[in-house]
Each structure stands twice: as C-alpha cells, then as structure tokens.
Amino acid sequence: MSSLGYFFKESLQGFTRNLSTALGSIVTIFLSLMIIGVFMVGAVMIDSMVSSVEDEVSITAYVADDADQASIDALSATIAGYEGVASVGFTTKDEALEAFSQTASSDILESLDGVNPLPASIDVELSDPQLVEQIAAQIEANETFRAICDNPADPAESLKYGQETVGKLFQLTKYVRYIAVALIGLLVFIALVFINNTIRLAIMARRKEIAIMRLVGASNGFIRGPFLMEGALHAILGAGLAVGALQLMRMYAIPRVASALPFLAFDVSGTAYLMIYGILVGAGLVLGLLGSAFAMRRYLKV
C-alpha cells in the first residue's frame, strides 16, 4: 500500500514537471471520450426513436378522390380480415385537412385557397408490428385497392407505413456509425500518441532515478508503477472532463433541442447515462494504461 502512495506522489510530480504535455494528453483524451459519449447518447436516442416508431406502426392506404363508398367499404372489410390487423378506420378528405391544419402553420392553409389537396385514407391499425410488410404487400396486391388507390400508376406509393421511417432511421444511423467509428479511431490514435509522448518525457526526466532503482534491485513493477499511474491519472482526468461535458449537455442542450423538435423522442434514461459514463471512464483507463505501456516498452528498459 505504501508503494501505491509512492506511485501516486511520483506521478503527480511528473504532472507538474511537464505541464503542457500532460494537459495535451488530458485534452485529447477528454475530446475523444466526449465524442464517443455524444455518439453513444445519440445511438441510445435513435434506438428509442426506432422502437417508438415500431410500436406505433400503422398502415395508411390513400384512396382517390373519386373512389365510390361501396369499394371503400369492401376494401375495409377485406383488410379487416387479414391476419394481424387490429382495426380499420377511415379518414375523409376534410378530416385529413383538419388534422393537417393542427400541425401546419396558417400561412400554408391560406395558400391552399380553399382547395383540399389531401386524399382520404383507410387507416389500418396492426396488432402485430412484425407483420407490417406482409400486410402492406397484401393490400398492395388487392384488386379493389389497385382500382381506387390515390395513385393508380404506382399503388405502392399510396401506402404509407412506419417501416419506411424505421428504414430511413436505420439508413441514417448506419452513416452516422461509420463517421463515428472513423472519428473515434482517429481520436483514440491521437490520444495514444499524446500519452505515449507524455510518459516518454516523464521517463526521460526520471532516467537517473530509474538507473538507481535498477541498480538497487527495485522490481520491474515498482519501476513501472509511477508511469502506469501517471497514464491512468491523465486518462481519469480526461474521462472526468468528458463526463462533466456530457452531463452539461444532458442538463442544458438536450432539453432545448427536444423542445424545438417535439415530434422526436429525446428521452434517454438515467441508467443509460450512468452506463455511458461508466464505459467512458473504463475506456479512458484502458487508453491511459495502453499509452503508458507503449511508452515503457520503447523507452523504459527494466
């Protein structure tokens, strides 16, 4: 235990000895961990958005303005008979406009000049979201639907369902993930280089002491201890800053964005945040220890 105290004292000394490089490694660790953290929070948000969209899956089948009521009723009855369908409703053109007017601004409504461009629709609620593709295909293949759908040239165009939103979200997350991995890889590399350099300087500064330690038979672990401790200390400081920054973002930035974009789900649970913070500190420790291990391999002969 007393040697742990010794390592700590020595690593603190290394900190003050090379303040600028120590700050450099701390800041790079901080930046890389913060960006990793932001991406992790983002991933959790997208996950919850995807599942909220999936939960509310319904199929909207738009019908042409001139469709006769008998065909619509027949189609509704047929759809209600499909497996996995919970209920089938109908939205008239007027109802659609009214629903639209609640979300859109009055300017757009005025520019419509009393003409209603919105189609009427059959709304299909599903009891099993997994079957959404299959049911959509069934509706699309239905002869009656093909006859009365809003866009007879391409009946699929007249069908809207949540899966499309889910697909788009997945598409988005895929690209975001590529960018994140590349960026994090680069930052981790830079952080390792910085830690490596800081520890190298610390080793150089203590060359004489190391020579004497080797001379009098200090064990390899004892000689390496202070440098591992120094790397770990930088990493923990960097991780602490990153956690602090993320916490600030959670408290101030996210509520603002969420109020600006009310239709997206921004709520990430507290346990998810705690888990992310834990992962960041762990990743930081690994980074710091790895960086000092590299430096010791190259510059510290024991």
Binding site: S2, S3, Y6, K208, E209, A211, I212, M213, R214, L215, V216, G217, A218, S219, N220, F222, I223
Partner: protein
C-alpha cells in the same frame, strides 16, 4: 610471471575441489589439477567456503565487435568474505565482468553462478532480487541531486519495498558506519567527493548485501581521500561482505596486498593471492 600466475590459479581450483563442492565441474577441475603440478599456497584466507561467484569459461562478444571478445574464456571463483581487486587497462573487460555479474548482460558462452544460481538461466523478473544481493558503487557516485544524504540512502530501501520502520533504523546506522552521521540533511552538492562516495557506499550496503562491487570507487578522488574510502571498504569486508573492486589505482593495489585478478584484452592474465598491480597490465 605468467607461469607463476597460472599455477596459482590452478591451486585455487584445486582448493575448491577439496572444499567438497558437489558439482561435476568441480570434480573435473580437481582431476585436472592433480594431473598438473600444483603450487601450494601456504597462507590462505580463513573464511573460505563454497564460492559465491563462479565464472565457468565465460566469453562475451558484443555484436558491434564480433572479432574482439570483451571477455575471452574467463574461469574463476570468488569465495565468501574475500576482498579482491580486478585490474586491467580500459577495454580489458573489467566493466563487462561487472555487468555480467549484475545480469545487465548475458554471456555469449559459458556459465556464471552467483550464490549457486545460474545467471544465464535466470528469469528476467528474478534479476531485481539478484541485484538486492549485490551492492554497487561507481566512480561517478550516481547520487540523486534533489535528495538529501538521508533520502538518497533511504531511496534504496524504499524502492525495494522496505517499511518505514526498517528505513528509520537502518539508514542512520549505515551513515554512522561510513562516518556521515552529522551530514544527514546535506545535499550531494554540499559534500566533498570523498563524502559523496561514502554516501554511495552507504546506499550500496544499507540493504546488507553479501557482495559489494565497486567500479573505480576512487577514480575521481585524491590519494588521501582514496585511502579513507579503501579503509572503509576493508571495514565493510571485515563484517563478512565480499568486496570486489575494479580499479586502475596501482599504488592502492600494491599497498593492500590482496587477491588480484588481472584482465588484458578480455583474457584472464593473472589470479594471485596477496598480489600487486603488476607490470603485465
């Protein structure tokens, strides 16, 4: 002179055989010494037991100089409690000899035993524990300038994990032994060269190693101060510590009349009890 040296060396190996060492190697050298005329040395140091250091046909070739071995087929034994000099020109292999002993380098061929342990087979992690049994003193003292005398000596115990109580009792004691009891809180640059060397000797023996190696301990000191350092090393030797001194100091070697091992261009030229620096080196 050379002939005398070789017979003397053989007498030494023969003596080892009689000492009842168990290894086959010792038996072989006994047979060898019986086959050759031996010269009995009438006055032998009394504290002989089994050898603490054995060099068995040790050759060291550095990669930079493949045709010029730094040590060439050196075999010798050093016994517990001996006080001996290692003499030779620069480049004769003295430093290589010492670095082999502390396992900083490994021999190219041959075996080295320290306290019955084969250094070439020793695992790297055990090397620090070997070094705890070997005190080292150098020409340039190797003291830490930002630590006091006390702290410099305490450092040696601290880094091998000794507790505070041991440090508090052993450090003042060893500083009293080397005659620096009143300079505990001085920094190295406030001391004379001789005093600094005493600090470095104190650091080397504070852990009470059975073997003390000194590489040119008086190289930077005037003759009178050197005499004082040698007196101190003799005193340490009298407590049972084996002392090996590599030196250029002809006068000192001639005055002390102790065992002398002479190296020349990597070869063991002479191994002589109560020897002198000699003209062959």
């Amino acid at each position: 002179m050379t002939n005398d040296a070789s017979t003397n060396g053989l007498a030494r190996t023969g003596r080892h055989g009689r000492a009842g060492a168990h290894s086959r190697r010792a038996q072989m050298t006994t047979q060898l010494s019986q086959a050759l005329p031996t010269l009995e040395v009438d006055e032998m140091p009394s504290q002989l037991g089994s050898p603490v250091i054995t060099f068995d046909h040790v050759t060291k070739v550095y990669p930079a100089q493949p045709n010029k071995p730094a040590l060439n087929d050196v075999s010798l034994q050093i016994y517990a409690g001996e006080f001996l000099f290692l003499v030779g020109h620069s480049g004769s292999g003295k430093s290589t000899f010492i670095r082999l002993l502390t396992r900083e380098i490994k021999p190219t061929s041959g075996k080295i035993y320290v306290a019955d342990e084969d250094l070439s087979a020793m695992k790297n992690w055990r090397v620090p524990y070997l070094r705890r049994n070997i005190g080292c003193v150098f020409q340039d003292f190797k003291l830490l300038p930002n630590k006091t005398v006390y702290e410099n000596v305490a450092f040696a115990l601290q880094v091998i994990g000794k507790n505070k109580h041991v440090i508090k009792t052993q450090v003042p004691e060893v500083l009293r032994l080397v005659g620096l009891a009143d300079k505990l809180n001085k920094y190295p640059d406030q001391l004379s060269g001789g005093e600094q060397q005493r600090v470095s000797i104190a650091r080397a023996i504070v852990n009470r190693p059975p073997l003390l190696i000194c590489d040119e301990p008086t190289g930077n000191l005037d003759p009178q101060t050197s005499r004082g350092i040698m007196d101190l090393l003799e005193r340490i030797n009298r407590t049972g510590t084996t002392v090996l001194i590599a030196t250029h100091d002809r006068e000192m070697v001639d005055n002390m009349r102790r065992r002398v091992i002479a190296l020349d261009r990597g070869r063991l030229m002479r191994d002589q009890d109560r020897g002198v620096y000699g003209s062959d080196v």
